[in-house]
Every structure is written in structure tokens, then in C-alpha cells.
């Protein structure tokens, strides 16, 4: 069994990361299908709002809860599409002391912006969903597709982001009961707030204050949750797979991802490179001196593909170095775009 398939066979969480347009969703789905074929209960979590995955899996649509995919495997295959806001709302309801507090938060404008896929919330909720699914014990393997973010590994920081926001000193001071010491600091704080209000408008500041007031008492729950997610990511049963295509900018991003994963102490367990140009025959093909122009055109075509494939391999050297001893799978550009289970089987065959 190849080392990439080994991940589908043995790990309990696989996180796929990579820049946009490199086939991350397809790779995640192929890994989950592989696990199901090996008799495991697998669930693939996607953030891709295009209905491509739903179509490929023969589901009308995907929801925020796992839906089972029928197929010829001995295990189980489930799929879900992350709904950031619904997931966040559920989290708020869970940690609120009463329904009124949950309602106050959910109707706050700052919360609505934070929860609506801005500022890394999508990454945060992807990790939250992962934790939630993992805790149920319903699945042997969860494969998660991460958002293509500007800052490659936002999802690692994401769970801490909200707690950082909640810990913000200025706002904490602002909503604390006043003691004489705090009142003195508060004067400075008030000045900062007035400055902000001058630039962005007072409404925004009011919203922010209301937001922090509404969250009062819930920070501990969020903080513990963030720690649990961080621990799950660091667990030996969790694998990180970097997905790339062999173009220069995509490989540069992949190297950056790999370096960050290593830096974070998580490491890279596998690399999948999609859309490799296939080659046809080895070495030079020489044509007879009297070859027709039609024959020369055929050779020209084949040689162009050969040149592309060579340039792709040269491009991948840096990534091979950054991947260390992680397994690398090369998936060729297929004749047709992948849009159903048989297409996923073709991808799987190359893992």
C-alpha cells in the first residue's frame, strides 16, 4: 500500500491544505472514498460552495450535517458542506448561559460580521466542525478540505482568534466594573475609543461594546474548545496533506505551507500533486528524413507535452525538498475533468 493510501487506511483525521484551484476538494474526496473502500467509516468535509463535490458524489446537495453517499464500498462514505454561520450559532447556543444571552449575541452586528465568513471565521468553524464530528465517534476517518486562504495556515490560528478577540484588553476594561484603578485606565481607553469613533463612526464602537458585554462569562468555554481543537490537530492520528499543482506559483505556495506545518511542529505527512502533464514514450522520437508534415506535426505535439512535463518536474524540486520524507503522489491530468465517482476512482488509482 502506498504511503498516501496508508493515511486513508490508518489515520483518524486528514487535513488537506493548498492554494485555490489545485484540486484540493477532489483530493479530499478521493481519500475518503479510498477509506470507505477499505471498510472504514469515512466523512469528507468540504468548504467548496460549488456543487461539484455534491454532484460527483451523486448527492443533490450537501448540508451542514453529514449525508451518506451510496456506493460499492464495504465501509461508509459521508459528506458535508460547512456552513460557517450555522456552525458558529450552534457554538454560541452551546456556551450561552441561557437562550437570552445566545439571542443577544446572535443579533449583534459585530457578531453577524464575524460569523459571516469574514476574518478567518470559516477556518475557525472548519476546525470546530472537525472537532464536533471527531467527538461523536461516528467516523473512523474525517477528511477535511481547508479554505484557500491568503494566509496559508490561518486555520491553525483560527480557534485562538476569537479568544484573542474576547481577551482584548481595551474592551475588557471597558465593560469591567469600575474600581478606582480601572477608572483611571478607562479614561485612556475612552480616549482610544473616541479616536476610533471619529474614524469609523460611533455606531461601530457601540456594537463592539455590546458584543463583548454579551459574551461575558462565555470566554472560558470558547477557550477550552480552542485548546481541544489545537490538541486534536497535534495528535499523532491526525495527518496533514499538502495539495498542489505543478505550476510555479502553486508549488511556491505549497512549499510555504509545508514549511509552516513543520514550523508549527505538525509536519507534512503527504503531498498530492494534481494535473501533472502525462508523457508519451521515452526520449527523442526521430522521424525519417522524408516524413510528411502531418507526421512532423504529430511529433511536435508529443514533444510539446514532453517539454511541459519536464518543466513541471523541474518545478517540483523545491517542493520535494520541503516535503522531507512525506509520501508524494502524482496525479496526471486526466482525459476528462473529474465530475463523478468513476472520476474519483481514477484519481484514487494514482494515490
Amino acid at each position: 500500500m502506498s504511503a498516501i493510501r496508508e493515511l486513508a487506511a490508518r489515520r483518524s483525521v486528514v487535513v488537506c491544505c493548498g492554494s485555490g484551484g489545485v484540486g484540493k476538494t477532489t483530493s479530499a474526496a478521493a481519500l475518503a472514498v479510498e477509506a470507505a473502500a477499505l471498510g472504514r467509516r469515512a466523512c469528507v468535509v468540504t468548504i467548496d460552495p460549488a456543487r461539484r463535490l455534491a454532484d460527483a458524489l451523486g448527492l443533490g446537495e450537501l448540508t451542514n450535517e453529514p449525508r451518506q453517499v451510496e456506493g460499492a464500498w464495504s465501509g461508509e462514505l459521508w459528506a458535508l458542506m460547512l456552513d460557517t454561520k450555522t456552525t458558529f450559532d450552534a457554538l454560541v447556543v452551546k456556551y450561552a448561559s441561557d437562550p437570552a444571552q445566545a439571542e443577544r449575541i446572535i443579533s449583534n452586528r459585530l457578531y453577524r460580521n464575524v460569523s459571516g465568513a469574514l476574518s478567518g471565521t470559516q477556518e475557525y468553524m472548519a476546525m470546530e466542525k472537525l472537532h464536533e464530528l471527531h467527538t461523536t465517534g461516528r467516523f473512523d476517518l474525517i477528511v477535511i478540505d481547508t479554505p484557500p486562504t491568503r494566509n496559508a495556515l490561518d486555520f491553525l490560528d483560527a480557534p485562538r482568534r476569537l479568544t484573542k478577540l474576547l481577551d482584548n484588553r481595551i474592551f475588557r476594561l471597558l465593560i469591567m466594573p469600575t474600581s478606582s484603578y480601572l477608572r483611571a485606565v478607562s479614561a485612556a481607553t475612552q480616549r482610544v475609543l473616541r479616536t476610533i469613533a471619529r474614524v469609523v463612526g460611533a455606531e461601530v464602537v457601540d456594537d463592539a461594546v455590546a458584543f463583548f458585554e454579551a459574551f461575558e462569562g462565555m470566554e472560558q468555554g470558547f477557550r477550552e474548545r480552542a485548546q481541544a481543537v489545537t490538541a486534536l490537530l497535534a495528535d499523532d492520528a491526525t495527518a496533514f496533506v499538502v495539495v498542489a499543482s505543478p505550476r510555479r506559483d502553486a508549488t511556491a505556495e505549497a512549499v510555504f505551507f509545508a514549511d509552516k506545518l513543520v514550523e508549527a511542529g505538525l509536519g507534512v505527512d503527504g503531498v498530492i500533486i494534481n494535473r501533472m502533464q502525462p508523457t508519451y514514450g521515452d526520449g527523442d522520437i526521430t522521424v525519417p528524413a522524408n516524413a510528411t508534415s502531418a507526421l512532423r506535426t504529430l511529433v511536435e505535439n508529443r514533444n510539446a507535452f514532453d517539454a511541459l512535463a519536464q518543466s513541471e518536474h523541474a518545478q517540483l524540486n523545491g517542493l520535494r525538498g520541503a516535503a522531507g520524507d512525506a509520501a508524494i503522489a502524482y496525479v496526471p491530468m486526466l482525459l476528462d475533468d473529474v465530475h463523478d465517482l468513476s472520476g474519483l476512482d481514477l484519481v484514487r488509482a494514482h494515490l
Binding site: G20, L165, V192, V204, T297, R302, E312
Partner: protein, 310 residues
């Protein structure tokens, strides 16, 4: 249409599209085409990635300082954090801007205001359009689905916040985006199922939610037509292995060409915009030579476009 006319239809051209379709390549190609036509181009990079410099053979990343990448082509980045600090400084808050960002209060503020960072970036682009001597400003936009969010940021803010300096900024940005003489979007896509779907969705989204003028569509990576006849392999005196290799390569290309043609047609049916088709180059590393080659191809396609007056 002549190249100079094409490049000066609008002062700002925003190049947008899904990740991996070659936005940066197209931004560089437009700049190169403009420079060849004797115009001065400024390319603005939003995400701080290294691709733009690399397209002109530079190894160092771009930063806020402008750099000349080629004759008549300057480039710089405008990142959200930079734009925010500069905005505060311009509003007489130089002294507090550092303290605000250090205390984390800026994070809170930018979470509180929908799309404030995008508005500030676009505000900076607007300022460049007013002050910079360039004839054309090419913006390498963030990857879609961010494209709609990015460009709709000003409208969104105007709906949510009513007063304050930031609202004026949003209003200015919104005005620029809706003025076809000042600003247009060039959507980039690939001749494949998913990128085409996404381009169609983005085009409708931008018209509905931003009201921005769409320029021609650029379709990247289209196989140049080759007249492939596998019949020529019969009695050609090749070994069976070589003949099989040539046949398989030809079949791959013919099949892919067919798929591409079908996608180009679907795109044309759904989006009544002129298409500029750029050839697939058989390399994975686009450099200065390739950009020149693409610019020449783009020039030929632009020459075929009817002249339009805005």
C-alpha cells in the same frame, strides 16, 4: 481596436478570477502590452504573493515601494494592513495608529465593519488613479469568490454604516467602481467546467452587486489549434512504440481541444462579452519571455475587437 485605445478605456483595470486561472499572468500581460504600445503601466498587487515579480524574472517579493519590473512597467503592493495604517495617518492619527494596532483594537474595528480592509485597499487604488502618472493601473485582485466580496465591500458598508469619514471613503470607491471610464473588470478563466461556471457566476454577481463595467473575458491556456492526423502514422516507418506514443499524445490533445471548444462556446453563450483567448504555453514557469509572447497574442486578439466607445 488598437492596443493603446484598449488599454486606456478605463484608467483602472481590475483583473479578477478564481485561484489558479492565471490572474497574475494576465495582469502582467496587459501591462506588457500597454508598455509595448508606449504607455506607462502600474501594476498593483493585493495579496503580497511573489508571482508578479517572478513573471518579469525578479526573485524578490514586491513591497509597498514601487519597483520598475520592465521599461514602462512599475509594480507595488497595496495590502489591507498597509492601507489601514496609511488611512489613519492621512486622517491625522499618525500617533495613535501604532498604539491602536498594538492594542489589538484595530482587529476589533476591522471585524466590526464589513469589508473595511477591502474598502481601504480600493481607496488606495483610487488615490493612485488620481495621483500616479501611469496611463493605466492594473490591479491583480484577490482570488474569487473573494472578487465579489472585495468589490462589493463599498456597497455593503454604505448599507450598514451611515456616517463617519469611512463612509465618505466608501462612497468615493463606489463611485469609481461604477464609472466605466475610470474602472473596469477583466475576468480571467480557464476553458474548463468549474472555472467557466465560476466566471459566469462572478460576472453576474459583479453586475448585480457592484454595477461595475465588465471588460473582455480572458481565457487562459487554450491549446493553439494543431492539425493532428493520426492517419499519418500508417506506413510512416516508425517503431510500434513510437507510433503508439504519438497516437496517444494526439488523442489526448484532440480530446482536450474538444472539451475546451465546448467550454468556450458555453462561456460565449452565457456571457455576451468579447473573449480574448491566450494560448497554452508548454511550460510551468512563466517568465519575461513568455509574458512578451502572451502580450503579442493578446495584441492580435485585441486588434480583432470592434472599437467601442464608453
Amino acid at each position: 481596436m488598437d492596443t493603446a485605445g484598449f488599454c486606456t478605456q478605463a484608467r483602472v483595470l481590475i483583473v479578477a478570477g478564481k485561484g489558479g486561472v492565471g490572474k497574475t499572468t494576465v495582469a502582467a500581460t496587459i501591462a506588457q502590452m500597454a508598455a509595448t504600445a508606449g504607455l506607462r503601466a502600474l501594476v498593483v498587487e493585493i495579496e503580497g504573493k511573489s508571482g508578479l515579480g517572478a513573471a518579469f524574472g525578479e526573485t524578490e517579493k514586491l513591497n509597498y515601494d514601487e519597483r520598475e519590473l520592465a521599461p514602462n512597467i512599475r509594480a507595488r503592493t497595496v495590502t489591507p494592513d498597509f492601507a489601514l495604517v496609511e488611512y489613519l495617518e492621512d486622517h491625522g492619527l499618525r500617533r495613535v495608529s501604532k498604539r491602536l494596532s498594538k492594542s489589538g483594537a484595530l482587529d476589533v474595528v476591522s471585524s466590526a465593519i464589513p469589508g473595511i480592509k477591502d474598502i481601504l485597499v480600493l481607496g488606495k487604488v483610487k488615490a493612485l488613479a488620481r495621483e500616479d502618472p501611469a496611463d493605466l493601473i492594473v490591479v491583480d485582485a484577490p482570488a474569487a469568490g473573494h472578487a465579489i466580496t472585495f468589490l462589493a465591500s463599498a456597497r455593503g458598508l454604505l448599507d450598514a454604516v451611515r456616517v463617519g469619514p469611512i463612509v465618505e471613503q466608501a462612497r468615493d470607491v463606489d463611485e469609481m467602481l461604477r464609472d466605466a471610464a475610470r474602472c473596469q473588470v477583466v475576468l480571467v478563466t480557464l476553458p474548463e467546467e468549474t472555472p467557466v461556471n465560476e466566471a459566469i457566476e462572478t460576472a453576474f454577481g459583479l453586475e448585480d452587486r457592484v454595477g461595475i463595467q465588465l471588460g473582455p473575458l480572458v481565457v487562459n491556456g487554450v491549446y493553439p489549434p494543431l492539425d493532428l492526423d493520426v492517419g499519418a502514422l500508417d506506413d510512416a516507418g516508425l517503431s510500434a512504440r513510437d507510433a503508439d506514443a504519438l497516437r496517444a499524445a494526439a488523442e489526448f490533445r484532440l480530446h482536450r481541444q474538444e472539451l475546451q471548444a465546448a467550454q468556450l462556446k458555453r462561456l460565449a453563450d452565457r456571457l455576451p462579452l468579447p473573449q480574448i483567448v491566450l494560448p497554452q504555453l508548454f511550460t510551468s514557469a512563466i517568465g519575461a519571455a513568455e509574458i512578451k509572447q502572451l502580450a503579442e497574442a493578446m495584441e492580435r486578439r485585441v486588434a480583432e475587437l470592434p472599437t467601442v466607445s464608453v
